[in-house]
Structures are given as structure tokens and as C-alpha cells.
């Protein structure tokens, strides 16, 4: 029996799990901005001094009149973006995850979310993967604090291709967005021709014993876990929950009904992020055992990303163990 059943349309053809193409998610953001710049004169970009780091430098060089430098001033950046939106522009405000959410939280709350401004907040360098920079730069709370804001949409693409598509798609919705991505190279494996369906989860693999609901880089980690679990004859559904808000309630409930237990995986605190969002849906609609993979109410530290994934319990090995725990809890 084959314990791994892949849905081809969401993944690239001839995907080599052992040797995937590596590409930066932030580069997907930067490339999409340049593409948007060509077709939409209203797209503008704000720079908070880290334009090279977040890959907005390509847009800056291509469309200098539509790039506004505000210095290292994230609170002002969010307000300026709201003002640009009022003037009919589609502003992209981008910096590192913590400084795109925690630092300017009140500005986002009042001037963007409450005011329903068409501002796209794009955060690079999220999660543990900024590794050596340490805890100050490891954004592990950003999804939670954006998710609790009314009117805010939250997207966590998994790779370069999906980041690119999500950035293009978010300009079609006249609402605030938070889009989260990463600094390092990571596997690029989603089908570039698959439509990005905002608010609709992608089921990448079918399975019957358990469902993994993962976001961002943890989707790839989960794919590695599936390989391990198949050796133990455990069949797992894998859902890429790229839209954290509005979350795909139907996909969550169906997964609980079909497979009886859930494991959530995120490079983020367990509290408040994807895990919290999934548990909220299940508690209301279809209670089922849930195991959480993510930061356990702790800050990170310096180290290589792989070392941190191991130490903080969010590697593929940990995911596989969590799946087994979840299955044991099924009645």
C-alpha cells in the first residue's frame, strides 16, 4: 500500500524531495512587486532602510518615484502607508517581522485595521530561521497579533512561487493584509501555475490516520515528516493553510471528521497563531485531539536554523512524533 498520496496540481511536476530547488521567499515578494509595478501605476512601496534585505530594492530601482523612504521608523511607515492608501495608492510597507507588527502595533490597529485601509504589510525574516541574529529578530508572535485585529487578512505563503502569487493576488482585495515570509533560501516546490486561492487551504497530500495543518516553511518540514511516517505505515493528510485569516473552517472540520485528529505546525508561538486558530474552529464545530508544533511560550536564541528547529521542537522528526501522539489520543 502506498501511504503517500500527492495531489499533483498544487506541487511542481518532477518534484525531487531530496533535492528541491532552493529560492528565497522574500525574493518572490520582490519579484512580484516589480511585476505589479509594471502593470499597476498605483502600486507604491515604502522603505524602512532594509530595502535590500526585504528585496524591495528592485522595485525602488525600477520605479524610484513610487518608492518612499521613511528611514528606520516603522510606526511612521504604517501611518504614511495609510495616508498613501487614502490618496488612492496601493502601498506595500515592508520590514522584518517583529518590526512590521510588534513595534507599530497601535499604528496598524488604528490607522490600518480599524480604518480598513488598503495597506499591504509585508514581513520578511520571520520565525526561527533568522537563526544567528537571535531572539530580538526572531519574529514568533507576528501572526498572533495580526490575526486578532478585525479587518486584517493574514497570509503565510510556503515558498518563492506561492509568495509571488500571494503578493499579486492581495492587490485584488481592497483591504488590509499581513503577509509573512522569510530570509533564507528554502525549497521552492509549489506549482507556479496553480491559482492562489485566498482563504482556501491547499490539500497537498491525502491521508486517513491524521491531518497535519501547517503554515509557511513548516509545510516542507511536514512533507519530510510524511516520508518518515509512511515507513511506519501511517497515512497523513497534509494541508497548507496559507491563509490564516480568514481561515478555511471547512477544511479544518473536514480533516477532523475524516482523519479524527490534527497536528498543527508553525514557525511561530503555539499560542495565538495557526495552532490557536485551528483549535478555535475545532472547539466550536468539531472537537478532536490536536497536537501543536511551534514555539512553546518561549523566545528563541542564536544558532543555525536547523539547530533551533531541533532544540525548540519544530523539526520534521518532532512533527512525526506529534502525529503518533495525536493518533493515540483518538477514541
Amino acid at each position: 500500500m502506498n501511504y503517500i498520496h500527492k495531489f499533483e496540481n498544487f506541487l511542481i511536476e518532477d518534484l525531487d524531495l531530496a533535492k528541491p530547488e532552493l529560492k528565497e521567499t522574500r525574493r518572490g515578494f520582490g519579484d512580484a512587486l516589480v511585476e505589479l509595478g509594471k502593470s499597476n501605476p498605483d502600486v507604491v512601496v515604502l522603505g524602512g532602510d532594509v530595502s535590500g534585505s526585504v528585496r524591495t530594492d528592485m522595485f525602488r530601482d525600477a520605479y524610484p518615484d513610487r518608492f518612499f523612504s521613511v528611514g528606520i521608523a516603522e510606526q511612521d511607515m504604517m501611518g504614511t502607508a495609510a495616508g498613501l492608501a487614502l490618496a488612492g495608492k496601493i502601498p506595500f510597507a515592508s520590514t522584518y517581522g517583529e518590526f512590521a507588527t510588534g513595534r507599530p502595533f497601535d499604528q496598524i490597529r488604528q490607522s490600518i485595521a480599524y480604518s480598513v485601509m488598503n495597506v499591504k504589510i509585508c514581513a520578511s525574516h520571520c520565525g526561527f530561521t533568522v537563526g544567528p541574529d537571535g531572539a530580538t529578530h526572531q519574529s514568533l508572535e507576528d501572526v498572533g497579533i495580526m490575526r486578532i485585529l478585525p479587518h486584517m487578512n493574514v497570509i503565510t505563503p510556503v515558498d518563492y512561487n506561492q509568495t509571488y502569487r500571494a503578493i499579486i493576488e492581495c492587490t485584488k482585495v481592497n483591504e488590509p493584509f499581513y503577509i509573512r515570509f522569510y530570509r533564507d533560501n528554502s525549497p521552492n516546490y509549489t506549482n507556479p501555475n496553480a491559482p492562489f486561492k485566498f482563504g482556501k487551504a491547499d490539500t497537498l497530500y491525502e491521508g486517513s490516520d491524521c491531518t497535519i495543518i501547517a503554515s509557511g516553511l513548516m509545510v516542507w518540514e511536514s512533507m519530510m515528516a510524511l516520508e518518515m511516517l509512511a515507513k511506519d505505515k501511517i497515512s497523513v493528510r497534509l494541508i497548507n493553510m496559507h491563509t490564516i485569516k480568514p481561515i478555511d473552517r471547512d477544511a479544518i472540520v473536514k480533516a477532523a471528521k475524516d482523519t479524527g485528529c490534527i497536528v498543527t505546525c508553525e514557525d511561530h508561538q503555539k499560542i495565538g497563531g495557526l495552532g490557536g486558530a485551528v483549535a478555535e474552529v475545532l472547539a466550536q464545530e468539531y472537537p478532536a485531539p490536536v497536537e501543536f508544533i511551534g514555539a512553546s511560550d518561549t523566545f528563541g536564541e542564536s544558532g543555525k536554523a536547523a539547530e533551533l528547529y531541533e532544540k525548540y521542537g519544530i523539526s520534521s522528526r518532532h512533527i512525526a512524533e506529534a502525529v503518533k501522539r495525536a493518533i493515540k489520543r483518538k477514541k
Binding site: F68, G71, Q75, A82, K89
Partner: protein, 296 residues
Amino acid sequence: MFPNLKNPVFTDIDDLNEMARQIRRDIINMLLISKSGHSGGPLGLADIFTALYFNKLNLLPEDPYNAERDFVFLSIGHVAPVWYATLSRRGYFPLDELTTLRKVNGRLQGHPAPLKTHGLPGVEIASGALGQGLSIAVGTALGLRLSGEPNHVYCICGDGELAEGQIWEAAMTAHHHKTDNLTVIVDRNHCQIDNRTENVQVLEPLADKWKAFGFEVFEIDGHNMKEVLETIDAAKKVKGKPSCIIAYTKMGRGVSFMEDNYKWHGVPPNDEQGKIALSELPATKYGDFVDYYKEK
């Protein structure tokens, strides 16, 4: 330049001063009805709001979001009563609605609520958490300039509010981008909720601060209508840099026991105090929107 837009309503200084007095009466009546809200700041700003809305701004009340309008951002959201009274007097919405200040299901929220969720004509964006208005004003000024539009952007800030760091971040952005389509008006009443500004945290030398941040600075008596009008014109003519009008005002202006008294920052008058206040602000030819004491 704006063939579709209207203003001035009044050119005569006496007419404007009388409207400012009516707006002050409206503020008192609104607060008597709501029994909640800020008295001092709104009374102090009545002259400046009258000058803007009844003479200087390009606007069209029946089409409040006309593309050619001048933008007004109220960074100090708590002085909303003066804005609501002015907008209503200018025809943005019926005077009757002034009775709904701070009431549930109302559009006249305690602090200005967003257009998209509450829909009060004339309001562009939410404000209330201090320090945020200037960034928004700068962003709008940049966006308008990028589109080649000649609209002018005004941002009204309090003086106590200037302790918020974001104000100075925004000032640096305005300077860097030379947003000369932007004018900041600082309500320099020397009062904030806890005490006089200089006792809470020293703000002077304030004009020097704005100059150092790259602004063309004007200092005026914020209750002298002629000076207010002339300075708004002068600020709009500044080229190559943003402008700042420091308007010296008195908190609670027009009501003797409130005037220049920081304790009137955040409280409404009671019925007895309201009666005295209205007696000190003689009735005008424009008429009140309510007879509070008769209806009681």
C-alpha cells in the same frame, strides 16, 4: 483651480467670529447631552475650524469625498466635538445628529471613527490614539503629489501630543520628501490632561524644534480670525518644504471658568456649569441645534 468646490461661505471677520461662537455653543450643548467628552480643546479650536471650513478649505459638503477636496486630519481625535459641530454647521450632516455624540449606534463616536465602518461625512480616517495623524497626512500628501494633484493637506495636532515619537518621525519624512502640500497646525494651549504642558514634559523651544525639523514655521494668535486666515494662506504658499502653524490658543476659550485650565481637558460641564457657559457665549443669528434646558 477647483471649479466644483465651494468656499468661502463668509469673508467678513464678524460673520466668522459669530460662527465660531455658535460652534462653541454647539460644543457645550453636545457635551451637556452626552454627559461625556472633552470640553477644553474643542472650545480652544473653534476659531481655527471656522476659518478652515467656512473660508479656506476647498470642499463640497454634498460630495464630501470629491477628488479635489483639501484633506483634514485630526491627529488629536479627542477634540472631535469641534470637528463634528463644524462639519454639521457646514452642511456635511444634519444639525440634529449633534445630539448623538458618544451614543451607541451613532456616527459621532467619542473619537472620530473610520469612514468605511461608521460613514460620517468629512472624516477620512480614525484618530484617537495620539501621534498618528501626521504620518497619515504626510502619506496622503505624497500620494497626491505623485498623482500630480494640487490638493492641500492639513493636520491638526495638539501640543501635549507632540511627546509622541511618531510625530517627529513623520516630521522627518515630511522634510525628507519636501511635502510643501502639507500644513501642520499645532494647537498650542499649554494644557494637557495631567497638568500644564511644561510641567508634564518641557516642550519649548517648540518653534525651534519644528524649524530644526525642516518646517517653515508661523506663530499666531489662534483666536485672532484675521491672523488665522492670513497665516493659512501664507502657509499654503510655502514651496519646497512643509509648513507648521503654531497657534497659541486658550483651552476652554470663551468660558471663563474653563479658560486656560487644564482640568477642563477631558470632562463635560454639568447642568449648572453648562448654563453659565452658554450665558458667557451669547446666542447667535445661526441659532442652536437644541434648547437643552427647555427640553429638560
